[in-house]
């Protein structure tokens, strides 16, 4: 079987309309076994190479294969492509591909009025309709009249395209997502080559699978080309991004690269202790590939062992990290306290997910903020920083390491499921421009004391085992300042509690000031965000300002300590709105630290904010109209 060559527009077999869009949102939805994540990723990758700005939102169930055809088994991948700088994967899809009735039932409510709906009619039979909760077939009862519906027997057409293939029926059936992908490529004028390359690489050992998927994708493309169903093709031109070399990257992959960069820059071998947990496992998978970078990944027997091994490695002089999600960080709490007490550098990555308890493992949330800052016994302060986008994860991983080794402290780095799995174009950083990450182990026995401190950072010396003359003991018991001997002295304990707090507070001295976008001099409304809400907030504020609303925004990457100018920034605004995916945790912290009253805007649905939700709130607070 030879691969079909790729068509360009002038080889279309008929005249079609071409419409230019600046921005389009496409959601592929199907059963967890339908390959929606692969389909979405391929569309994303191809669009990235085309030069679009983009943002993705994979949304999948916690069950690996929930019963086929059921509502809980629906898996979706949303991607937004644009010819300008965008910040979110979009509120509502313009195009929905529904591979079965359940996917339609779950996702239809989000589709824009008059949106394009492509349905796989093969799955719309009684049993599947019933599983999806449909009393009548929605394809026949006019309930979809407000959409542009394209009914396509995807499975049938896939089988037809592979007639004569030696593949078994199940493998043939599995190719049908590539029929949908081929259709999407035709509709949005994308080339097929990137996916053909992917298939060759992915199925190198089984070329018949690569061929089959290629043929089916091509068939999907041809189907649009020759049937009269579609009269319009859409174009989304490349975005005007800053000059540079780009790649598309997920948050977890960016974290891995940030840690490796920190390892290289500091000259310390990277050690990761981890226990598998959604949605943090990919960080373990990523780093596990990089042995030749001196990276040691240790899949421990549990979350506690994972952090304890990292602490042991830090004692030994490694750049140590442990990665987990909320339930895992709860288990790590006592060991985090040990790292605080022994003043060892460590990065604890929490990829937040819906909770409490097991909660919504594959859904996103920002409700571990207070746990990150306070979730340990006694006074156990730790710097807490948060990434704001998939690409930003690189910089935050690097920064977390820098703070940890500079101040000899454990650091919490917060990400979440939305950032972890979502992707965006990432302009590769100039490695030379990365901040320095100097590390010097203590070596001189003269004047050495385990808890003598750097007067500026208050860091204690990092004196690693194997260094002659520096034999000393550290541990969880309170230590005498300086000597590090066990001490139960009342005054010493109080001094040490204050010192540990002051050490973390001093991190603020080195943080960049909080930047205000919009009206830096102050105004009626500031939207203050942290973490992964950055995209929705930026999008909403930009739109509101275009409407003439005098709204500004600022985004916190540093939650403990806060940037030194936060109080002053808050003072300059009449109102402060804090949207967050929890019940108001940042709002609580801000109000505890500053006299400012804030308007908390919580959302806890396991989903990121829609831009329009934030926009509506801004309009409401500013009186609903333009100035």
């Amino acid at each position: 079987m030879t691969l079909p060559t790729v068509e360009s527009d002038n080889r279309l077999s008929r005249e079609v309309e071409h419409e230019r869009l600046d921005d389009v949102v496409i959601r592929f939805a199907g059963d967890s076994g339908d390959g929606m994540q692969v389909t979405g990723s391929q569309f994303t990758n191809t669009s990235a190479l085309h030069g679009n700005d983009l943002a993705t939102f994979p949304d999948f169930p916690a069950e690996i294969r929930a019963p086929a055809g059921t509502l809980p088994g629906v898996s979706a991948f949303q991607v937004r492509i644009a010819d300008y700088d965008i910040h979110t994967p979009g509120d509502q899809p313009d195009v929905l591909v529904a591979m079965n009735p359940a996917a339609l039932a779950v996702n239809l409510q989000d589709l824009k009025p008059n949106g394009i709906l492509i349905v796989n009619t093969d799955e719309f039979e009684e049993r599947n309709l019933k599983k999806a909760g449909y009393a009548a077939n929605p394809l026949e009862d006019r309930s979809l009249e407000s959409y542009r519906v394209f009914q396509v027997p995807l499975a049938t057409l896939t089988r037809r395209a592979l007639e004569g293939s030696e593949l078994d029926a199940k493998s043939i059936e599995r190719c049908k997502n590539f029929f949908a992908l081929g259709m999407a490529y035709w509709l949005f004028s994308r080339p097929l080559e990137p996916t053909l390359r992917y298939l060759d690489k992915k199925f190198g050992a089984r070329p018949q699978l690569a061929d089959a998927n290629a043929v089916v994708m091509r068939a999907g493309w041809n189907y649009c080309d020759i049937t009269e169903a579609f009269h319009t093709r859409y174009e989304v031109e490349p975005a005007r991004l800053a000059p540079g070399v780009y790649r598309n990257i997920t948050g977890n992959a960016a974290l891995a690269l940030g840690f490796i960069a920190a390892s290289r820059k500091s000259g310390l071998p990277l050690f990761q202790g981890a226990y598998p947990i959604t949605p943090a496992s990919d960080l373990l998978h990523e780093l596990a590939q990089f042995r030749h970078f001196g990276v040691t990944t240790f899949q421990a027997e549990d979350e506690i062992a994972a952090i304890c091994a990292a602490i042991g490695a830090a004692f030994g002089g490694a750049l140590a990290i442990t990665s987990t999600s909320g339930p895992g960080m709860a288990l790590k709490g006592e060991a985090m306290g040990l790292a605080v007490m022994t003043e060892l550098p460590l990065v604890v990555v929490d990829i937040q997910r819906g909770g409490p308890s097991t909660g919504l493992p594959t859904k996103t949330e920002q409700a571990d903020l207070l746990q990150a800052i306070f979730g340990r016994n006694s006074e156990a302060p730790m710097p807490v920083i948060a990434a704001s986008s998939p690409a930003d994860c690189f910089e935050r991983a690097y920064e977390a390491c820098r703070i940890a080794v500079r101040h000899m402290t454990p650091v919490v780095l917060l990400s979440d499921g939305y950032l972890a799995n979502g992707s965006e174009p990432w302009r590769l950083p100039d490695l030379g421009a990365l901040a320095d990450l100097p590390v010097e182990f203590w070596s001189d026995p003269e004047g050495f004391a385990p808890f003598r401190r750097d007067p500026e950072s208050l860091a204690r010396p990092w004196a690693i085992p194997g260094t002659p003359g520096l034999e000393h003991r550290i541990g969880g018991l309170e230590k005498q300042d300086g000597s590090g001997n066990v001490s139960y002295d009342a005054a010493n304990h109080e001094r040490m509690v204050h010192t540990r707090a002051e050490k973390v507070a001093r991190v603020a001295r080195e943080l960049p000031p909080l930047e205000v976008h919009g009206e830096p001099e102050g105004g009626p409304l500031l939207v203050l965000g942290w973490g992964s809400t950055a995209g929705a907030i930026t999008g909403a504020v930009n739109l509101a300002r275009r409407e003439g609303l005098p709204v500004s925004r600022a985004h916190l990457h540093h939650l403990n300590p806060f940037p030194a100018n936060l109080g002053a920034v808050l003072d300059r605004f009449d109102q402060v709105l804090i949207p967050e995916l929890n019940l108001g945790q940042l709002a609580l912290l801000v109000q505890a630290r500053y006299p400012k009253r804030v308007v908390s805007f919580p959302k806890v649905q396991g989903k990121p904010f829609f831009r329009n939700e934030v926009l509506a709130k801004i309009r409401e607070l500013l009186g609903g109209g333009s100035r």
Binding site: Y246, G312, G475
Partner: protein
Amino acid sequence: MSAPATLTKKDFQTDQEVRWCPGCGDYAILSAVQAVFPELGIPREKFVIVSGIGCSSRFPYYMNTYGFHTIHGRAPAVATGLKLARPELEVWIATGDGDALSIGGNHLIHTLRRNVGVKILLFNNRIYGLTKGQYSPTSEVGKRTKSTPYGSIDYPFNALSVAIGTGATFVARSIDVFQAHLKETLKAAAAHHGTAFVEIYQNCNIFNDKAFAHLTEKEVRDDALVYLQHGRPLVFGKAKDRGVRLNGTELEVVRFADGFGPDDCLVWDETRSNPAIAFMVAQMEPPRFPVPIGVLRRVEMPTFESGVAAQTEQEIGRKGVGSLDKLLHSGDLWTVRPDGSIA
């Protein structure tokens, strides 16, 4: 700096006041370790003692080496990370029956199964001492303590059986008051490459005094214990008039007065790869059997850290030392030119 030729016991003592109760068995163990370390020919700065929580876990504070007093039950996990990061260090763990077998049971078994190159000294006094006298996972059934006023109900762990069950490559037992035996056992542990697990019966004279008197008192000990000596038959008794033999699939004690002799007894081989016999011997308890002390099992298997290092070397050999720049520039890339065009 190379090892001073003449490290002495004193070099391993700290200036910190030792705060165990007077008469505690921990003193004897400390003394034995401080005596053995200088004989190992290893520079002092290479030693790291890692401990958890409990009386035994104060051990690092009294050893003039590197030390880490961690949290309850987690010493093996901390030690594993340290050993992976720094395989050249001599990492010893001091732990107790509550620390290792109760709260830290998970880390103990996984460290043993991985064969991490650390030494684990489990001070077994069959009681919680630091929390003032609750029964432990090695306390005998019916133990009356503050938390079990009517006697404990649950069956105890046999620490050696636990270790052997995990596939541990070095398993031994000694007793605090038998200094010579303890030192020999520690030396054997020191010489082992994988995880060396040493259970040390240790007397808590405050909360569980004389827990091992039935094994250690002069008049009874020769009848109550059997010394496992590699290549020698399991013969015991004050008059060396009894032995342990393997009868079919069962161990039994035989009396030489009944016509048996040393030749009928099980000849001890600590290097058997099949752990079944070591497991059976570990299970020997009074009143039917003498209690075994010495090395139950000593087999060589690649250590965890050497496996990790070998993989790293192999990957570097295959791919070369990773280039960060290349790594960042991997995958599908595109370039936005200053004029905005895409390449």
